[in-house]
Symmetry: C2
Subunit: 454 residues, 2 copies
């Protein structure tokens, strides 16, 4: 008792993961009295993942779409940031473990997201890298631009064509964005840069298992997107499944027909699986995990029987609203993070508890530097108007963290010049003698990630 | 004979290395008739090395100070760019080898530069990384920012102080620039970002073996630079030699006194040695190599007995002008590259041959975001005026390659906000559990460079 007011130790909130979900929760709790927040992440920066394909295709630099977590939270005096990896969780003892280090919590928010998944064909990863981390993007950038370099030196026409063939697996937003950007690189940006090859001979194939690209969008927008991609030079193949990827040969199946494509560069944009922390939760609590490893959460995003343990973002399977799980996109994670923060506040202040309801403001996908599709539900935009809309929405959210006006200027510069200044081939073992003869080592990503995607 | 004009095959110029020397030579030959140019580099981009310390300290991204070689030379229709590494040279047969690939030349220009040198103590490299490549800069950035992260988690006061101690070996421009930038990071940029440590307790030591920092500058400017560094919080120790670096302990000697410093981060800015192609030239021709591995060249930058073989830039030892070799700085390389191009042109057109004379326009070094020193010979600038001068000179040369106005805007933004957005810790094995417990692996650079620095 100090001056008649009961002195309580602050309520300890531990947030694991500094993506959209975790960071929005932390920001919403940053000024709350008698709450102490610990944000744990394996990386020292928040990554604006929706723009990662722009790093992979040489438009912007990793730092342009990243914000140091400490910077973003520097004004939140009740918040500390810890760099490290959560190895285990004890839901009953209310503790998380980082190796030997133990951190106790009153409330835990898990927001460790997802990584790409090969549907059990993990051996495809080395031939068909995915795009979830900065290192993934740098490796993909290296692979894309190295293929043109190797083609310039290749004298065998068949091998050269395989080097100039790019297969993108998965016709969701990431696949569409990658395919459009690679077509622009080949047919516009680098058209004058080579002497032995004509980059106009590049083939860009976008493969989608369902009957249209951008399946979550309205069918009319899928059609528009396919038309815009085709105009850019992308070959779109829907109803097409990949049955094998091996030794620069992609085997595909459309209906009953099987076909092989010789392609040196295969990029994976087809599926994700949840971070392994999901599995730990499903082992230690009554919660269930779905096939993608996501934790099925209650209507308030908590775990059955553990009202102080929340799972949000790509790691959560939340089906209370429409019967189908909410998609793994940034707006869902942001709203879930903000909701859990408001729920914690309400509980601490003994106020009525809020209900979670996801508000879908629409979907966006960009196809090229002149085209995008925007589905707002009540309105559908295409072409340059949609592209401008997309630009401003992304700038708006980037500015939410730190002033990234520079990014917009970079984009405008690229837009008018059709240049891509960030097409560095870096991070490989630069000791490799001649890329064309040693393409296997040359294409190997440097970084060895562990599955625990904190 | 076509229409009475004799048809000659084009004169084949091969340039090895796309730094300042090689690129300026290539650009100057880009529009010359009946000349065909092949530029060979291990990397697909030109790196503006004088600004590499800004990548290492989180101000700009690698792509901001790099230009794709193909972009820079896309208008030079007589020029092809080859990505690869020259493994051997046959000066008599007029051939260079890239592994099994053989490229014949009429004129060869070697411009493969230098890398950092540990004066025979190569075992220091792993404790005290240097700064020559993009990968070096990313590794250095990772090390600097990881040290603060580890300090935040460290409970042992002695270990924490070692994590907050930064030793920079070498008081030349790079050392001065690194020391100033790290002091700004600790005392300004990150002041509010941590909860357990006070980054104001950071120690930044700049060690110089001679009696003043920036030895190539006028003594008065060295004094000014030392005063500006001290004001920023850097401890400058001149007349101080490093005698050992081992296990986070730096042993130094000032006069007769020996002392040890516990520092987790030691950065090397003390010396360079020439690319190994120099040694090949000195074995295969009558040319001599100096102690730093540089090739002693003739007054026209050719090799004794080989008037069609030139060595320029950091790889060359050119002492015909002042009796001392020209310094390893960008203006020397640029002027040498342009001179050799004009010499080739004059020879082909049977015109009088030009004489090489290096014009020294002065030296610049930046100390912090408000201070620099500029030695123009006829005038000496310090403080903010010098900083602005430095800014405009660098912007001018950056723009020479590609419009990098964005970089200037980034700098201005950082200048006014004192932020550093590019302080990403990337490229490490992100599977490392807890940086503080496994600091050895954590600090290890990912990239394994070979000595052949093409």
């Amino acid at each position: 008792m100090v001056n008649g007011v009961e002195c309580q130790p602050p309520h300890q909130v531990v947030i694991v993961g500094g993506g959209f979900g975790g960071l929005y929760a932390a920001k919403a709790l940053g000024k709350v009295k008698n709450v102490s927040v610990t944000l744990i992440d394996k990386r020292n920066f928040h990554l604006f993942q929706p723009l990662l394909y722009q790093v992979a295709t040489g438009t912007v630099s990793p730092a342009d779409i990243s914000s140091p977590l400490r910077s973003v939270l520097s004004e939140s005096q009740n918040t500390r940031v810890l760099l490290g990896e959560v190895s285990d969780i004890d839901p009953d003892g209310q503790k998380v473990f980082m190796g030997e280090e133990v951190i106790a919590y009153d409330t835990l928010i898990l927001a460790t997201g997802a990584k790409h998944s090969y549907f059990g064909k993990d051996e495809w990863e080395k031939s068909a890298p995915g795009l979830k981390t900065v290192e993934d993007a740098i490796a993909m950038r290296r692979q894309i631009f190295s293929a043109f370099e190797a083609a310039e030196k290749e004298t065998d026409p068949a091998k050269r064509q395989a080097l100039l063939t790019f297969v993108i697996v998965g016709g969701g937003p990431t696949g569409v964005e990658l395919a459009g950007a690679i077509a622009e690189i080949a047919y516009q940006t680098m058209r004058k840069d080579f002497r032995n090859i004509d980059t106009g001979e590049t083939q860009v194939l976008l493969l989608e298992g369902l009957d249209r690209v951008l399946p979550p969008f309205a069918p009319q927008l899928s059609q528009e997107a396919e038309a815009a991609l085709t105009k850019l030079g992308v070959t779109v193949r829907t109803n097409t499944l990949v049955t094998n990827i091996d030794n620069d040969i992609v085997t595909i199946k459309s209906g009953e027909e099987t076909e092989t494509i010789h392609a040196k560069t295969v990029l994976w944009a087809a599926g994700v699986k949840a971070s392994p922390l999901g599995k730990i939760i499903c082992e230690r609590t009554p919660a269930e995990c779905d096939r993608a490893g996501r934790v099925v959460v209650e209507a308030d995003l908590s775990i059955p029987g553990y009202p102080n343990l929340f799972v949000i973002g790509d790691l959560a399977h939340y089906a209370h609203q429409t019967g189908k799980p909410l998609p793994g996109v940034a707006p869902v994670a942001m709203q879930e993070g903000q909701f859990v923060a408001s729920l914690i506040k309400a509980k601490l202040n003994h106020k009525p508890l809020p209900q979670f309801k996801y508000r879908d403001y629409g979907s966006l996908a960009v196809i090229g530097q002149h085209a995008a599709v925007v589905d707002l539900g009540f309105a559908k935009l295409t072409g340059a108007v949609a592209w401008l809309f997309w630009l401003f929405v992304h700038i708006y959210f980037l500015i939410g963290f730190e002033n990234k006006l520079v990014v917009m200027l970079q984009w405008l510069w690229n837009y008018f010049t059709r240049r891509r200044g960030a097409r560095l081939i870096t991070g490989m073992d630069v000791g490799v003698k001649n890329p064309v003869n040693q393409s296997v080592e040359y294409y190997q990503p440097v970084d060895n990630r562990t599955p625990l995607n904190v």
